[in-house]
């Protein structure tokens, strides 16, 4: 295995020489800053009512009264009560941020609230978000007024909790992406590196060295796989720097290494079978896609496992799951070594 290590060191020098590692880290850093910026939008998608940036706005209310009380209670909203025509004219002059029209026949019937809002202005998104929350409050108060007409007991849970609105997003979306991206890339570069040896016919040179096929494959795998926990650790460090504490660091890094090994070994298998460059990459991407879809059926699918580990919700079952991923990775490696030995020995390159 000393010889495999020599090959791995050469791979590492290649990576540095092509500055591809640096580039990869830069790209990931870019994605991270960028996604930090997008989070506002994404969190809006995730839990629209959680974002609490509320613009000061003047709103026109037209109607017999009801919803206006809720609008009045919002500290950032001021309301005026013009006629509908004046309200719409004021809306177009830019005086009113929105026109709210309420109509209903009498106290007991359904009420209709119609909102007129400016198209494609950022404030619209924030206003709609706030209106939604106010409308739900209004709905709740009306339901409670009419409780006698409803068979179901009205259960509302009120907690004055003010959690970090990004909490669920960070652990269930951002962290899994940050862990899985380097893993995917590590498989991709392993395949590329193997493919390059085949294409430029340097594989036969390597074959004539004292390296056994197994050592050759391990040497090719080692660097891309070992770089994964380093990158993930870097991410966890960056998150901590931003005040997000990721739990279970060691199991997370172990998990990342196992899956990287799984994909890298799979990637070598692909490269040994599909000799053409672009086709290797495309086949690898397809394979990963298929594996990912199938993995979603597992009781602890990768995204969820990362989320549970990172957030600290993990229990013993999750640790067992990590070990099982390791087992699958080991099996894949064994298959790759067996296939590789046959393929490389037959000099099918």
């Amino acid at each position: 295995m000393r010889r495999a290590w020599t090959l791995a060191r050469k791979e590492f020098r290649d990576l540095l020489r092509e500055r591809s590692v640096v580039l990869a880290l830069l790209v990931q850093f870019f994605v991270a800053t960028f996604s930090a910026f997008l989070t506002v939008g994404l969190v809006g998608l995730y839990d629209p009512e959680a974002s609490d940036s509320q613009p000061n706005a003047l709103v026109a209310y037209v109607g017999p009264g009801g919803f206006d009380a809720f609008l009045d209670d919002a500290p950032n909203l001021r309301i005026e009560r013009p006629s509908l025509a004046e309200g719409v004219a004021g809306f177009h002059r830019g005086d009113y941020a929105a026109v709210v029209e309420e109509t209903y026949a009498n106290e007991t019937t359904e009420r209709t609230v119609t909102l007129l809002l400016p198209e494609s202005e950022i404030q619209t998104t924030l206003l709609v978000t706030q209106f939604k929350s106010l409308l739900r409050d209004y709905e709740r108060s009306l339901r409670e007024d009419r409780e006698g007409r409803i068979d179901q007991t009205l259960i509302y849970v009120d907690v004055p909790a003010h959690p970090n609105v990004y909490y669920a997003f960070i652990f269930s979306t951002l962290l899994p992406l940050l862990v899985l991206t380097p893993i995917f890339l590590s498989g991709a570069i392993t395949g590329d590196s193997m493919n390059h040896e085949i294409q430029s016919q340097t594989l036969s040179l390597l074959r004539s060295s004292p390296l056994t096929p197994a050592e050759l494959i391990v040497g090719k795998l080692a660097m891309p796989v070992l770089l994964v926990p380093v990158q993930v650790a870097l991410w966890i460090g960056l998150l901590r720097f931003n005040g997000v504490h990721v739990a279970n660091t060691i199991p997370l890094l172990t998990f990342a290494t196992f899956v990287a090994l799984l994909l890298s070994a799979g990637s070598i298998l692909v490269a040994l079978h599909v000799r053409r460059e672009g086709q290797t990459q495309a086949a690898y991407a397809l394979l990963v896609l298929a594996l990912f879809v199938v993995s979603l059926l597992l009781p602890r699918e990768p995204l969820n496992l990362v989320a549970r580990l990172g957030s600290g919700a993990a229990d013993a079952a999750d640790l067992v799951a990590v070990l099982l991923y390791g087992l699958v990775a080991a099996l894949t490696l064994v298959v790759t070594l067996l296939v590789g030995r046959r393929r490389l020995a037959r000099n099918e390159t």
Binding site: G44, S120, T125, A168, A282
Partner: protein, 565 residues
């Protein structure tokens, strides 16, 4: 198109047909079977990375029991608070009382999630009620209408309500706003109200980009294989020109991309306008792939360059999500047009051209450079990426006069790269952002002009004297900028709001200020050209950028005296 190109295209396509050997088909069938079998189950299960994220301890008789059971995010155990006290649960529910730890983010998030889950569950439970006006007492209509506040057009006359306002019909009053002609969402429950953030339509347009990536990988891989195995040499020794060979090699991928984009257009109902707006996206994607395929030295470098450009390009396409409120920036991305087409909004010719022309130009420039690289001298030389780019630029702009055009064509790239700076700058505080953007913008512009100047000085047999190179390239860049400014004015009938940030456009308020940028670009490019002649391009680039940044800062402070930094 001639027969040589067609024959090469046929050969290229045949590679994939040959590739479809029995074992490949078997493998493909296996993957297909796997996906087909697991597909329905996966769809039913859905993607729930947040599953069992929160541990809840609940007493068996609690009325909240069905609520926690209805939400996958909860990992539920029965108990009366012991696990919570020991820190093994994030929430404890006793009867109707919910206990959580306010100082613990996970516990507080769990409480918040419970609040949301309760509302969802109640909405669901109320579905069966007979008295709908008690269970769902509110109906919501939302109408989005464009306001033209920026353009100094007279206020839109308000259409008088069609129903006579005097008649006080007490039976069932109808909303009068509903009759307006905006984009409408009618008859919603409060829970169904969604903010108009266009992220869903945005994600939909990625239907174009993801298949493009697959084609790109095959395309670039094939180009690289041609070079590493030197087969391209054989092709070049045939009577076909480099351009014909490239055309032939690219044709199958272009056809595949077109076919795929037609399918996508039909699938997402983007219509003809959406399809036309998608074309520059695909053209630019293929052009970058082509260039990368011709300059990358190894498969690994190829993968990284492809991944990097894909990410950057996707970011560019994502701009509308970030700068929703600044149309002149958002509409630099053709995706804005596709989104408008998807939402059935009217698109003016001006904004369509504004969104598509710069990207198309950039794609054409990259393609031109790639064709210039397809020569024996440059195709197989194991040289650096920048050296190859310089070769290609000089091949395209060999004469002194053509340097003007090269300078002008650098402008679309400058605008694109400065947008990335803008994205970064927005996350910083104002003062840092200002300095960052001034310096970054100067570095980008000087790099692009410097690359052209460097290519001329180092590659030309009889290079022009540096001041002349500076005048030609700098002047070309200046013309390009002014053209872009006029173009955006025409496209929007207004001064672009993002102009202050996009210093590229320069500020034309007096004759001196019109020509000051020309002087600036000439001087800085001259500096780089002198540096290139002495083999110190990088150093000269830094000096030129500092001069440029100092100029930008002066202009900003002179024109915006109110800004104190």
């Amino acid at each position: 198109m001639n027969r040589g190109a067609l024959r090469i295209a046929g050969n290229e396509a045949a590679r994939y047909v040959r590739f479809l050997q029995p074992r490949v088909l078997v493998a493909a069938a296996l993957i297909g079977l796997l996906l087909g079998l697991s597909g329905p189950a996966v769809r039913e299960r859905g993607l729930h990375p947040e599953a069992e994220l929160y541990r809840v301890e609940i007493d068996p008789d609690s009325p909240l029991r069905p609520i926690v059971d209805s939400d996958r995010a909860f990992d539920v155990t029965e108990g009366v608070g012991l696990a919570f006290l020991n820190g093994r649960a994030d929430l404890s529910i006793l009867g109707e009382n919910v206990h959580y730890r306010a100082d613990d983010d996970r516990s507080a998030s769990a409480a918040r999630e419970l609040e949301l889950a309760a509302r969802r569950w109640l909405d669901q439970a109320l579905e069966d009620e007979t008295d709908a006006s008690a269970a769902f007492p509110i109906r919501v209509n939302i109408i989005y209408e464009a306001r033209s506040l920026v353009a100094a057009t007279p206020t839109t006359p308000t259409p008088t309500p069609t129903t006579a306002p005097g008649t006080n019909n007490t039976s069932a009053p109808q909303s009068q706003l509903v009759s307006r002609t905006g984009e409408k969402q009618l008859d919603l429950r409060p829970s169904q109200v969604e903010p108009p953030f266009p992220i869903r339509s945005l994600l939909l347009t990625f239907a174009y980009v993801v298949p493009l990536n697959f084609v790109s990988q095959l395309y670039a891989g094939s180009l690289l294989a041609e070079r590493t195995r030197q087969r391209g040499l054989l092709l070049l020794s045939t009577p076909n020109s480099g351009a014909q060979i490239l055309l032939g090699k690219s044709l199958p991928y272009v056809v595949a991309t077109l076919a795929m984009s037609i399918v996508v257009t039909l699938a997402i109902h983007a219509g003809l306008v959406g399809f036309l707006a998608a074309l520059p996206i695909l053209a630019f994607g293929l052009a970058t792939t082509l260039l990368i395929g011709l300059i990358a030295r190894s498969p690994r470098e190829l993968t990284f360059l492809l991944v990097a450009t894909t990410v950057l390009f996707s970011t560019f396409l994502f701009l509308p999500a970030i700068f929703t409120q600044i149309h002149p920036v958002a509409f630099l991305s053709p995706v804005s047009i596709i989104i408008s087409a998807l939402r059935g909004q009217a698109i003016t010719l001006g904004s369509f051209l504004y969104a598509t022309v710069p990207l198309t130009l950039a794609a054409l420039v990259l393609t031109g450079l790639s064709v210039a690289l397809y020569r024996e001298e440059t195709l197989f030389a194991p040289r650096g990426l920048l050296a190859k780019l310089a070769d290609a630029i000089h091949f395209r702009a060999p004469s002194r006069a053509s340097l003007v055009g090269a300078g002008a064509l650098a402008v679309p790239f400058a605008i694109g790269l400065e947008l990335f700076l803008l994205i970064f700058a927005v996350t910083l505080n104002l003062r840092t952002a200002f300095v960052f953007f001034l310096m970054g913008g100067a570095l980008v512009e000087e790099a692009l002009k410097g690359l052209v100047a460097h290519a001329h000085i180092t590659r030309s047999g009889r290079p022009a004297p540096p001041p002349l190179v500076g005048l030609l390239v700098g002047g070309g860049f200046f013309l390009g900028e002014k053209f872009a400014l006029v173009f955006s004015l025409v496209g929007f009938n207004l001064l672009p709001l993002g102009r202050d940030a996009l210093a590229t456009f320069g500020i034309a308020s007096s004759a001196l200020l019109v020509f000051a940028p020309l002087l600036l670009h000439t001087v800085t490019t001259t500096l780089t050209a002198y540096g290139a002649r002495r083999g110190r391009t990088a150093l000269a680039w830094c000096v030129a950028s500092l001069v440029h940044a100092a100029y930008n800062a002066t202009v900003f402070l002179l024109l915006l005296p109110g800004v104190s930094l």
